[in-house]
Symmetry: C2
Subunit: 401 residues, 2 copies
């Protein structure tokens, strides 16, 4: 199950950034499961990583390598997360960097490793290393679509976004992401790789990444479970010849956000068992923390999510979620709740204009907006989520078996 | 679905405390749905109520009445929560107190109202009031078992606990509770009514209630959703002639806790769609907050809960939940995780002694203990929860329809 249109859009190549995909048989024979990305010399690279204390070995290694040198290769495998693997996991992550460095005449610190898949199984090193030559041989600036497939786990669709902006001097931004379950970002989420041909210095690039990430990958939840392997990488090759400076920065970030939000929403549309794409919009909050507390309490409530699955306008569960979100001195009589354009609750009760028919009708579309007006401040925040279906339970009960 | 033995135990009567149950047809014709409890003069009464900001009208009224006078009647209806009902809800709650007061020649402030069921529908006042004479006529010290049925909503079983202690001068404690979904206590939870024939002054009784509640109803979660209607009431009639003083207080609290924990566990055993009864034990924590943060993060993780439903020893998901619980400076290598008696993870990885067969075997029983040793302090806490099954989704998708 998934919502919306799952077709991969045209992914414009980024000069100076190549992707190569292979089938290494890491978990399932014949499946694309190994991706190598090559970054041209002179590029800048920024990354954000999971804050889970049990972060995976590749996350620890990638963070360390990124702090030391400018990366030349990104190495991604799916099928195995190399998380919860202790000492052995660190050794394996480092050895995989070593192997790719040897195959490409580079240094192992120039390789950032990423793994996604089952937690707690040792990485099958010979299959991983055995697949590298094919992935390296496939490196191409047109490799985006294959790579978008090669990083998937329980995802049912490849996810990509791409745009070009500017008139005389055009800038291109292209990205891919994977994620479907264990989605509750904290700093970064799942795997995302975005590249641009703009030239952006390291400090500006990192700032742009944080800003775009904050309003995209940090605004989605499927099941409130933060992954051990989340990472998002932003590469600027500079090959367009256009340099981003303080003056052009805001426009760049705005375009970057568009790509990031597209990718983040694609993850929600492909959320495990998703039958609905749900935007939870909180407005009139005093500050961002308060807005997000209410948004996530609604978006993660199993009772709200099962009602969404049933297309049941059970607004009482939404009020109950708002009420337990921990907002100080909340005036419940000032709160208004809309389902799409239908006002369902105000003055602490069902709206007098509300009819069950209007509520039922509002719940039928695949895309639902739950809009909560707290009416006590100026801040608005949006979080995207899915419903909770039988299919979610089935996928996650059967994942390992 | 439910776990364990669902037979209601012998519920010893409490002299001075009567219960009367009737079928008022509030939601379903013929179902026991109205309970009146009568408290003998001279009793003390303590209560704890939900902290949900959208608390139901009866909760607001019960709190206010309890603050003003010593209650003589408790009035409970199921089928309708009278929550999210605004002004009308308050009027209805007060009017229902008035009606019972009129039928029993008492004062409306001496009545505490409680409602449970669907949120956001107006209370059917004529049916509620129409049922009162039958409930009053049925008042009896032997009315516990009928009342245990009369307060249920989606529960599949009546829940009660009862004990007697002391040699020469015996004290009896008996209680009933209801709750199955929307279970994540905050101060108190769902509905619980416990009475004792000990004499306990108001201050000691309230302290005893807080202590017993903290380790029982405040240690359970089905779906992390705090209800709008939670309340637990403790009545001491004094009819045994035994007075609880500072000296006998600890023993009284210890016995009271036994009854409270029995009731709280009965709610989890009857949790919506429950296929497993799961104890999450955190030991070696620095403080209670930290222990509970880890315990609830595990107990509420949809991924851990679906793995439990599938009897899948997916310890990686448990590690991931521990890792995102927000424990400061957690040394992941010091953490040990047991499933029942099987050590499944240590040193940040699968335990070397672990076998998949042992893990599978540990997951088969209906009762599972997940024990996490943080090995950084002396505090231990336990939280009880259920798995997340298809049945949970079905019940909550179909509840209103």
């Amino acid at each position: 199950m998934a919502t919306g249109n799952g077709t991969l859009p045209t992914l414009h190549p980024i000069a100076g950034f190549k992707l190569g995909t292979a089938s290494a048989g890491i978990k399932t024979p014949g499946r694309k499961d190994l991706v190598v990305m090559e970054i041209v010399k002179g590029s800048t690279v920024a990354g954000l990583f999971t804050q889970n204390a049990f972060c995976a070995a590749p996350v620890a290694v990638a963070k360390q390598h990124l702090a030391n040198v400018s990366p030349k290769y990104l190495l991604v495998n799916t099928g195995n997360a190399n998380a919860g693997t202790g000492e052995q996991g660190m050794t394996d992550a480092l050895q995989s960097c070593d192997a790719l460095a040897a195959a490409t005449s580079s240094n192992k610190e120039q390789v950032l490793p990423f793994s996604t898949g089952v937690i707690g199984e040792p990485l099958p090193m010979d299959r991983l290393i055995g697949g590298m030559p094919a992935a390296v041989a496939a490196l191409s600036e047109n490799g985006w679509a294959d790579a978008a497939e090669g990083i998937l786990t329980t995802d049912t669709r490849a996810k990509g976004a791409s745009l070009q902006y500017g008139t005389d001097s055009k800038i291109t931004i292209t990205g891919i992401a994977k994620g479907s379950g264990m989605i509750k970002p904290n700093m970064a989420t799942m795997l995302g790789y975005v590249a641009t041909d703009a030239a952006v210095d390291a400090e500006l690039l990192h700032r742009a990444l944080r800003l775009a990430n904050e309003k995209s990958f940090n605004r989605i939840t499927v099941d409130s479970d933060t992954s051990t392997n989340d990472a998002v990488i932003l590469v600027a090759t500079g090959s367009s010849g256009v340099t981003i400076d303080e003056e052009s920065f805001d426009q760049f970030v705005s375009q970057l956000k568009t790509v990031f939000i597209d990718l983040a929403q694609a993850i929600i549309r492909d959320g495990e068992g998703a039958g609905k794409f749900v935007s939870v919009v909180i407005e009139g909050a005093v500050d961002t923390d308060e807005a997000l507390a209410v948004a996530y309490t609604i978006a993660e409530s199993p009772l709200v999510k099962t009602a969404l699955a049933a297309s049941d306008p059970n607004w009482g569960r939404i009020l109950a979620a708002i009420g337990r979100a921990g907002v100080t001195n909340l005036d419940v009589n000032a709160v208004q709740v809309h389902l799409n354009s239908v006002l369902i609750a105000e003055n602490g009760a069902r709206a007098s204009s509300y009819t069950e028919e209007a509520g039922q009708a509002a719940m039928q579309p695949e895309e639902i907006e739950i809009r909560v007006s707290l009416n006590r401040g100026q801040i608005q925040e949006t979080v995207w989520t899915t419903d909770l279906t039988y299919e979610y339970v089935r996928i996650n009960a059967e994942y390992r078996t």
